[in-house]
Symmetry: C3
Subunit: 344 residues, 3 copies
């Protein structure tokens, strides 16, 4: 599996972590997350170096965590500070820790070389701080699929017509070509479907009376974050790319965390430029996204199962695969360029 | 696993396939079955050549099936006829298809070299068309056992006394020797148990007042179809092999489909020469067969589990193994003689 | 896995085996246990040498067991005595048997070289026959852990303060050093916690009004039997090692049977020197032990899971590991010294 180690991943939504230790798994590494003194988040290797009991089976104390087997206690820097019944603490008595950053109710973790961890590199949209936009946190969707297939799905406008017929797509878009721009760091794929009836999502949230112009812009950030800017505007406005703010516009954000070679978590949230005072609207959008993303999940999990079986043919490549192909190539290159980093 | 590829297998009972696509698995190959226009059955490789989504997750259209991911559409011959958003269809855009034949409410599939597929080779009994006999379809019994052990069980009269004490056997047959004829294409094993009380099955369906002569003839057709001709007649008739039609006579037919190295499906049906107008009798026989065949299933699944464990001793061979041994040898030879056939 | 073959293990509590055959698994060997004529216990290889059906799927007859497939019947010495429909019994028609001994409602089995099986070597405490002590059988606790980790846990007084805070330990013992004696065949580890409040167990069963002196002595017998002698006495008595009989004293006995490389059964029982006439007391102690031993089970199963994952670091060794380390070494040596014994 191609993993990018030197990157910030979402470890958790903020509300998922309290004073009880929680095990998470990223790139097959088991990590315990906890808040000590109800505040600072710490992320540690989830395995006591003595008998290998997960520390998540232990107890959070003030500024430390205690193993549930023999009481070995580790400070927030990972170093052992107490061995019950023994005065000398050997140098080998420590656990690895991971850089953590919490902002916008998201807990980020750095999985690579600590010296390279820089919180300025953490993904953020200008709209997070813009009062004319309303951010809304969705779910942590577990998908039994490698994260690369999920990321590719998020830079693939063409699947929408077939996978999400009642929410995000409709037949009018089936044969519309996909545009792609891979010149920058962010891979972009998009389509405009002009002069067509609104899809289910905008029937619910757009209040349109006639045909609309609809856009889907997919922005894929390395290694595995996608922003899908989609919206609709009445046909008579004939809006351009630059005028998307004049329509009903929603950003669906997917923050992918690779769990193992065949599992990932898709934490999704959205921002909208309409009815930003009405909390009920965010919940209703959640409901519609849950329908759509469970459709993706079903497809992606079926494909993961197939990929575990023997394959006798090379896959057919289509024009719509351009952005996913570029993404896969960049991941491969980046993964190869990063020494397999293990700190002990 | 010794698989015979050039053969007709039962893919399904007719009533199992409608206009929704259905995945079946034969010899570890996943196949999608569907009726288009409510009629013709098609069998295709169940994997889109683009991203590997099973086509059984897609939609049946008129004379085609559409992938549920990006809408690639395949005609009944397996060739791609549409790629949404793209005009050119590459030569590699096809899926393998399988010859199919439907008759007597059974859907047959040919797993080998298409050039050798001949519907005249499909198994059929003269009694299927004989108005003095009543055919009756039973179940599709899934057994977690390789198909060879199940087939061997179907040319093995000796197990009946011990495995089916309440239905098909009783203690009187325990020590009766098994006769075997392996001179023809069909391996035959049989026993007569003369002058004994009727077994459970014929207590229910025979209306006998005293002892009976009972026969069990097992006919095993290559590669994995068995006909068990069994019946009883009042002792005083002293009927011979040739006079079986004078007794209460039932044919239990087992159509075995290998699913994987450790799984198969036993589709069973039966024909009877008594009370052929009374549908209730067929259902009652079903009920009794379900008892008996679930006893076989339990035995065969336990043996499959044992065969997956390490073995330190060679099995003891008994006289009753003659027919099974010949069968196993023929399968091995036939499998070896068929080039491992893969069409792509 | 280091298995000691030449040893007596507990196959079962007496009450677990009646006239129905029961499959047990020891060191990955499947064994059928049954009583014939309602009395003598027999232990046999649980696999018919003909078609590998487990004999535990068959029927117990007088002084024999009959295979459920074709009726092959084996006497209590494992030799085949009947093959239905066949007069000659080949020499290869036998199953392996295991020496068995039943005493104190425990069924013991010898897994190694039969010539070395001696019932005098079976574990027994003098208190089993002492009328001032009351023995009481507990459960057969299945643990998804190799037996070695469980045995080590049973010669490890230090975990009690952290794993069993409500029953067998309390914080007063956290920093008390562990004493170890490995000079004899039985590895011994112990601690005295003097002048401390009674733990949960002795709050329930001791009727103490003030502080107590508490002891935990762990005796580990090869290959996998532990006796934990623990108790409490009022502080003012200031009792010594030799005066433990003056306190409230309980022996918790753990009889470990290795099932596979990752599973074992811990059959536990206890003896007490108080309220020996009151059966209710034994049941109440059971309830408290069940709480404690399920805490061990949770820890040990989590560790087993960790041990199946890749490990990048050597474990940290602590002073409290002395007895477990010696035990592990002795097992390794003993296992290596015993030729891998297979009788067929």
């Amino acid at each position: 599996m191609d993993y990018i180690r030197d990157a910030w991943y979402v470890a958790s939504w903020s509300h998922e972590i309290g004073d009880q230790p929680v095990r998470i798994t990223i790139m097959s590494e088991d990590i315990v997350l906890f808040r000590s003194n109800g505040e600072v988040i710490t992320a540690m290797e989830d395995r006591c170096p003595h008998r290998s009991l997960p520390l998540s089976k232990g107890k959070v104390l003030n500024n430390s965590i205690q193993c549930g087997y023999h009481g070995m206690t580790f400070g927030l820097d990972g170093n052992c500070i107490r061995i019950p019944g023994q005065n000398i603490i050997p140098d080998s008595a420590y656990v690895r820790t991971y850089p953590i950053h919490e902002e916008y109710n998201i807990i980020w973790i750095w999985m690579g070389d600590k010296k390279k961890a820089n919180t300025k590199d953490i993904f953020k949209l200008p709209q997070f701080d813009d009062p004319t936009w309303k951010p809304h946190q969705g779910d942590a969707l577990y998908i039994k699929s490698n994260y690369l297939n999920v990321a590719e799905n998020l830079v693939d406008p063409a699947h929408v017509s077939f996978v999400h017929p009642t929410t995000l797509g409709n037949p009018e878009s089936e044969d519309v070509k996909v545009e792609v721009d891979t010149s920058g760091d962010v891979i972009t794929a998009w389509r405009w479907i002009r002069d067509a009836p609104p899809v289910g999502f905008f029937q619910s949230f757009g209040n349109f009376s006639g045909n609309v112009d609809r856009w889907h812009y997919y922005y894929l950030y390395m290694p595995s974050i996608a922003v899908i800017d989609f919206g609709s505007a009445p046909r008579h406005l004939r809006i351009t790319d630059e005028e998307r703010h004049k329509g009903v516009r929603v950003f669906a954000i997917h923050l992918l965390t690779p769990v193992s070679e065949t599992e990932c978590i898709d934490r999704w949230m959205h921002l909208r430029n309409i009815q930003i005072e009405d909390d009920q609207v965010g919940d209703s959008m959640d409901a519609m996204f849950r329908v759509a993303f469970s459709e993706d999940k079903e497809i992606l999990e079926a494909i993961q199962e197939e990929e575990l079986r023997p394959r006798t043919r090379n896959p057919v490549r289509l024009a719509i695969d351009k952005a996913p192909n570029i993404y896969r190539l960049r991941v491969r290159k980046l993964a190869a360029s990063q020494q397999d980093y293990i700190e002990n």
